[in-house]
């Protein structure tokens, strides 16, 4: 099946061929067996795509139903169990509110036992006012949900996941992946493809946890979580980066290479540079492969400076 045939098949099935082209197409189906076989397989594959899409849709529907059912299971019993507690709390809160409103609306003379002719100490009022001001300034910034989440969320999610935050393994400019000490630093590799760094961690998945750990330089722990996610491309990409940063250049090399070989992959392009880095860290054994790999990125202005250094080392 070549590109032209695919185009003709699509156009014919969409009913977009002119009357004469349609006749020509149909007569070719009779006279050209290979063409007819291609067309048959094209129709079968289209029907297969439809079946697959329907199955996916059903799976998604089932997942959504189960997700909602889980939510109901969690929320309803809690509300039901605590019905009386909630009622009591509500009554208490309303009573307190009522009392506060009542006392606030009382005439000043009834609010305190202060006599009208009592001398007011201005200094003490100033002190009270200033201490109130100080208090508000020292309050944590909990008024902004965004700030709160930003500060608290990573800690909570790590604790929830049961993973203790590990010690940083590699300092920013510490040299990694080379026993002679002239190769890659962490900062060289920190600029990651957007799929990893843009992950907001909102999904409670192994991948999100791994991204958090990766950001905390806990590559080994991140690796443990995602290394088996072989069907998830972004997990595999993150795995390759973890290997690279852990100094396991051979594994990183083969993983980045597989992304490069798959031109359908979302990580096809960014893997080229990291493939070069992985090979660089495997020098001198990888020298000839590295020279070939440099060809993949040599025209990219982004890497010119670093490439120059690598070429010097070769």
């Amino acid at each position: 099946m070549d590109d032209f045939n695919i185009h003709i098949f699509e156009t014919y099935l969409a009913g977009q061929l002119s009357e004469s082209d349609k006749l020509e197409f149909e007569s070719r189906l009779i006279s050209d067996q290979a063409f007819a076989k291609d067309f048959e397989s094209f129709k079968i594959l289209q029907a297969g795509i439809r079946l697959q899409a329907m199955q996916n849709r059903l799976a998604t529907l089932k997942a959504n139903i189960n997700k909602d059912a889980d939510k109901d299971d969690v929320i309803k019993p809690i509300l039901k169990r605590n019905y009386w507690t909630w009622s009591l709390v509500s009554i208490l809160v309303l009573s307190v509110l009522g009392y506060v409103i009542y006392t606030q609306t009382l005439p000043v003379s009834k609010q305190s036992n202060v006599k009208q002719d009592q001398v007011i100490n201005l200094d003490s009022l100033d002190q009270k006012a200033s201490s109130k001001g100080q208090q508000s300034e020292t309050l944590p910034a909990v008024d902004s949900a965004g700030t709160f989440n930003k500060v608290i969320k990573p800690k909570i999610s790590l604790e929830k996941s049961g993973i203790t935050k590990p010690q940083k393994q590699i300092k920013k400019n510490e040299i990694i992946a080379d026993e002679k000490g002239k190769k890659i630093t962490r900062s060289d590799v920190m600029v990651l493809y957007s799929a990893i760094m843009r992950d907001d961690g909102s999904e409670n998945t192994a991948y999100s946890k791994a991204v958090e750990l990766y950001r905390d330089s806990a590559y080994k722990e991140a690796l443990d979580i995602i290394v088996d996610n072989v069907d998830d491309e972004k997990s595999q990409y993150l795995t390759a980066h973890c290997y690279l940063l852990l100094g396991q250049s051979d594994k990183a090399t083969s993983m980045f290479k597989s992304f490069i070989e798959n031109d359908f992959s979302s990580f096809h392009e960014p893997s080229k540079w990291y493939y070069v880095l992985a090979l660089y860290s495997g020098l001198p054994a990888t020298k000839s492969e590295l020279i070939k790999a440099i060809e993949l990125v040599k025209d990219n202005p982004e890497y010119q400076k670093k490439l120059k250094k690598i070429q010097e080392d070769i």
Partner: protein
Amino acid sequence: MDWIERIKSDPDKTLTILYKDLKNDTIQWIKKEFSLQSEDADEIFQTSIVLLYDNVVSGKLTLLTSHIKTYIFSIIKNKIIQLNRAKNRISSYDATEIMLGVIDEEYQEIAQEDLIKANSSLIKLGEPCKSLLELSYYQQMKLDDITLLLGYKNNDTTKNLKYKCMKRLQKIFFE
């Protein structure tokens, strides 16, 4: 926005809402009408929602002339039960078999074994080809939209990849 537009614009949410809203009535009706257990009735109901979606995506359903519930009831009655009766197998209900039956009705010249083989070839093909082909051939999405959605460089890249994917799928199919 009517149901058809809602299904087109947000199928995940709309189909789940439909399921929840119509679940009790429909399952009761199936159980009563066809003397089935709740589990089978639920499976049939879920499948009928997917068939509704399929009818919208394929352009067979462009305008609802009756209530959506009536339409779903008619899917259940006319397609699923009819298909199973034809096979003399009222006792077991498997969603994939029901879907195969529906597709089989439309593509009578395609053998079911070939269809199953094509389906498993797609699974072997994997991502992103699977999504790309589904968007193009099933959802009939325009190249512009696919390019935007999947983040490809331009329409030519998307088109070339689609052809590559289709050829790769054919290769797997004939292996």
